[in-house]
């Protein structure tokens, strides 16, 4: 008995001792306190490579900007590829990209391209590369067309629907004929989806370009690691533009906001995005890191499905509801001040935003009297569809929904909340099955058309519209499902169509100003907020320029 016991206990003891030894060993390894491995991203000063670690919320497994509409994909492709035209870092004004000169005149865009720019594979950049890239995206007759199942919706959205023909004169002169006068066109060329592939790479890789990247940008692809959800880039020394000033960049995926913020605080990351109200606290409170913020170019709203709900067809009801909802409280308390109240579809930093329009005042009494005027003094009920997970323009959808519900309850309107996960929610509302819904929009190109036309114009034929009716069914032929309000206001539509075809900026601004006045007064949406952009940046990082569109501009960043 005793020897058996010893045997057992000896075994157990050894096991435990072994475990203890491992623990001690590991504790010894950590050296410095901060949980990093003692070798945080080198800074280059001691001869080691300067490595910039960028932390984000989800991985992007494609490197081809023609394969996806996701912003996560864009972050990476912006480092590897260039567009013909760029956004000024941190601004929404345009500046040179691969084109040194560009202009838009009527239906013709003329561009002069830079000479001496090389791709990562050594090939010289010429106009032919842009043509090949364009055809690969939208031309099904093209030999190297990527395929219907490959190209993203940005094909037609950004280029295909607007370009009639491209003429090339030599290697560096290009003339693009548009299908109509389209004022936003140059801005479309600055979108990440309009970047340029190398024609040689297109021919060599075909659809494998999703895993291989050959661009003209400041960084070239080193490794696409799907297993560990990381993407490594190395500096391209022959880059035509500014920088790059670090040797390597790695995009790291950390799903949870708070974990990512913690990783930044502990020195495991250098820059992070996707910061919510909670994690912003972590960043502000931590030493050695800074919370950087700027105005975003987006809008968050609640859309009335005017066709579906009879009560919403009376403008006074929509205005009443706009007055009954306390957007100030929502923005201050629920969004913790990281947003401003919205008054119209265009955010303040976009051409055409009407500065003379104020947000609807929180005024339940006015709301009540408007309802009574419209004949709904006794109230009514409707269903509010919302998504569950936070989006930039609506960081707390459930809470916002509850606030709306309790606000409207005060004026006798009963709101039933229908919450779904994002994909089913998008489908549900795209089919017009909602009574009202939350949604928002992050700009593609900082152009007013991107909000005013894309989100509130039904885009159906004249024949589908009925006189005297400011709405049209989702089932109408060719209906623009992004218009979740089913709003069809003729005056607004005319203004916005004209503004789309007007290239003179001041004229455009005037048209949009008027359109915004109508949109505000007619209230097809309850305008909730314009959200800020937040980034967390470690002190050892310098030159980081926060940008609401395009970027991150990692070629400008250096580590000390």
């Amino acid at each position: 008995m005793s020897s058996q016991d010893d045997g057992v206990s000896r075994r157990t003891f050894l096991g435990a001792a072994g475990g203890a030894a491992v623990t001690v060993g590991l504790a010894g390894c950590s050296g410095t306190d901060d949980g990093s491995d003692g070798s945080d991203g080198g800074d280059g000063s001691d001869g080691s490579d300067a490595l910039l670690r960028y932390g984000r919320g989800s991985h992007s497994s494609t490197l081809d900007f023609q394969n996806s509409t996701s912003g996560e994909v864009a972050k990476v492709t912006e480092q590897i590829y260039d567009t013909l035209i760029n956004f000024e870092p941190g601004e929404s004004t345009l500046t040179d990209g691969l084109a040194s000169d560009y202009s838009l005149d009527g239906q013709t865009a003329s561009l002069t391209l830079k000479e001496g720019v090389t791709f990562h594979n050594g090939e010289e950049f010429t106009a032919q590369d842009f043509v090949a890239t364009y055809r690969r995206f939208v031309d099904s007759e093209y030999e190297y067309y990527a395929g219907d199942d490959y190209v993203s919706a940005y094909g037609p959205f950004t280029l295909g629907s607007w370009i009639d023909d491209i003429q090339v004169d030599g290697d560096y002169e290009m003339t693009i004929q548009l299908t109509q006068t389209y004022a936003p066109f140059l801005r479309n060329l600055a979108m990440f989806a309009a970047a340029v592939h190398s024609e040689a790479a297109i021919e060599e890789f075909g659809t494998d370009l999703s895993e291989n990247a050959v661009g003209t940008g400041p960084f070239e692809l080193d490794t696409l690691d799907d297993t560990n959800e990381q993407i490594r880039l190395t500096a391209y020394d022959d880059y035509w533009g500014d920088g790059p000033q670090v040797d390597e960049v790695v995009f790291v995926t950390v799903g949870e906001n708070s974990t990512r913020a913690q990783s930044l605080a502990s020195g495991e990351l250098d820059v992070i995005d996707g910061i919510g109200a909670q994690s912003s606290q972590q960043v502000s409170n931590a030493d050695g890191v800074e919370l950087v913020r700027t105005d975003g170019i987006n809008v968050g709203y609640m859309a009335f499905n005017i066709t579906a709900v009879e009560e919403f067809q009376d403008r006074r009801v929509r205005q009443a509801i706009s007055h009954a909802i306390d957007t100030e409280a929502i923005v201050e308390q629920i969004y913790s001040g990281f947003a401003t109240e919205a008054s119209q579809p265009l955010p303040p930093n976009v051409l055409g935003h009407n500065d003379d329009i104020d947000p609807y005042e929180y005024d339940p009494e006015r709301a009540q009297s408007l309802l009574e005027e419209a004949g709904y003094g006794d109230g009514f009920s409707f269903e509010l569809a919302t998504f569950q997970n936070p989006r930039g323009y609506n960081p707390s959808p459930i809470q916002t929904a509850e606030t709306v519900s309790s606000n409207l309850g005060e004026v006798g309107i009963d709101v039933e909340i229908n919450q779904q996960s994002f994909s089913p929610f998008l489908e549900y509302t795209a089919q017009g099955r909602h009574d009202a819904c939350f949604l928002g929009w992050y700009t593609d190109n900082a152009d007013p058309d991107n909000f005013a036309y894309v989100l509130l114009h039904p885009q159906v034929d004249e024949g589908e519209l009925s006189d005297g009716q400011d709405w049209v069914s989702f089932d109408a032929e060719g209906y623009n499902t992004s218009n979740r309000a089913s709003w069809a206001n003729q005056e607004y539509m005319d203004l916005v169509e004209e503004a789309q075809r007007t290239t003179a900026e001041s004229d455009r601004a005037a048209l949009y100003n008027e359109a915004m006045r109508i949109a505000h007064d007619e209230a097809p949406w309850v305008y909730l907020d314009y959200a800020e952009e937040l980034r967390g940046v470690a002190d050892r990082v310098s030159g980081f320029q926060i940008a609401a569109i395009s970027g991150p501009y990692l070629n400008l960043v250096s580590l000390e």
């Binding site: 708070s258 974990t259 606290q281 308390q333």
Partner: protein, 309 residues
């Protein structure tokens, strides 16, 4: 102990009181002498009391909706708020207490339904044997081969989001049924080996009567044990599904959802109490069921014991 002695024992004790019956039943007396099982039972009873009290005395709307402006936000545990408040300024103590109600309610429905279904399938398989047995049990085998959580995840996506936690209940019911079917089939087979049943069949009793009156009561012990053990599993799986976002809808005071919020929004900002208390109660409840179930299994007839998972 064989079926005969058990039945004889029962017949003798029918006319006596409860205490005598307990003393006379080897299963129950052994169970109650097991201190661990008693500890488990105590925990469970405590949770049930909390659950019922919460259900009867708390207003669900009040503890689900945001209390920003009314209560202090993100307050640490104190004498006023023993479990602190969360990110929407809701006091955590009543929410955790109500969570006990959800755990008990949904756990009972899940386990109850899967027991009924599983028992039915198991007895049918055991009695009719051959092809029926093979078909039923092979299907059960496949379902059993999946880790319960994975299968539940795949199934839960069929059901619409509006059902909230009931989605998880439906999925888990389908997942647990095979466990019961297998256990009951095993136990039923043991019972069916007994000649007495054959004799009854020979005397002309119809199938259902035989099944219900003779096979079922003798399977009760392993069924009860399996139910108890599964209850703990059900509660954890329900919480896990809510944690992953496939269960309770936002705002619901479900332990799993509270843990999820606590982890994603609270933990690393220092508000440890958001996930600590719901998790503590969850762990205790599951421990209680496991202790009791374990004790019950120990008190079982060794042959029956093998059948239990």
């Amino acid at each position: 102990m064989s079926t005969e002695t058990l039945r004889t024992g029962e017949a003798e004790t029918e006319s006596r009181g409860l205490a005598d019956r307990v003393r006379a039943s080897p299963f129950l007396s052994q169970l109650l002498s097991n201190r661990l099982a008693l500890a488990g039972l105590t925990i469970i009873v405590a949770m049930v009391v909390i659950a019922i009290y919460a259900r009867l005395s708390l207003d669900l709307d009040l503890i689900s909706q945001s209390q920003l402006g009314t209560n202090p936000n993100r307050a640490a545990p104190s004498s006023v708020y023993p479990f602190g408040t969360d990110g929407q300024a809701r006091a955590l103590l009543p929410r955790v207490a109500y969570g006990a109600w959800y755990a008990m309610l949904f756990g009972t429905v899940t386990v109850g339904t899967s027991t009924v279904l599983g028992v039915g399938l198991g007895i049918v398989a055991a009695y009719y044997g051959d092809v029926t047995d093979n078909v039923i049990m092979r299907t059960m085998d496949v379902l059993l081969a999946f880790p319960s959580l994975l299968l539940a995840l795949a199934l839960v996506s069929i059901f619409p989001d509006e059902l909230g936690l009931w989605r998880a209940v439906a999925a888990l019911t389908l997942v647990y049924t095979p466990r019961f079917a297998r256990v009951v089939r095993g136990a039923a087979l043991t019972v069916l080996e007994n000649e007495y049943v054959d004799a009854t069949a020979a005397l002309g009793a119809t199938d259902p009567r035989v099944l219900v009156r003779h096979v079922l009561p003798n399977c009760l012990a392993p069924i009860t044990v399996q139910s108890t053990l599964n209850f703990g599993l059900a509660i954890i799986d329900l919480a896990a599904l809510s944690f992953l976002g496939f269960g309770a809808s936002a705002g619901t005071p479900s332990w799993g959802l509270m843990l999820s919020n606590g982890v994603s929004q609270g933990l690393l900002t220092g508000v440890w109490w958001w996930s600590f208390f719901p998790g503590l109660f969850l762990a205790l409840t599951v421990l209680g069921f496991n202790l009791l179930g374990d004790g019950m299994r120990d008190a079982l007839d060794p042959r029956m014991r093998e059948a239990v998972d």
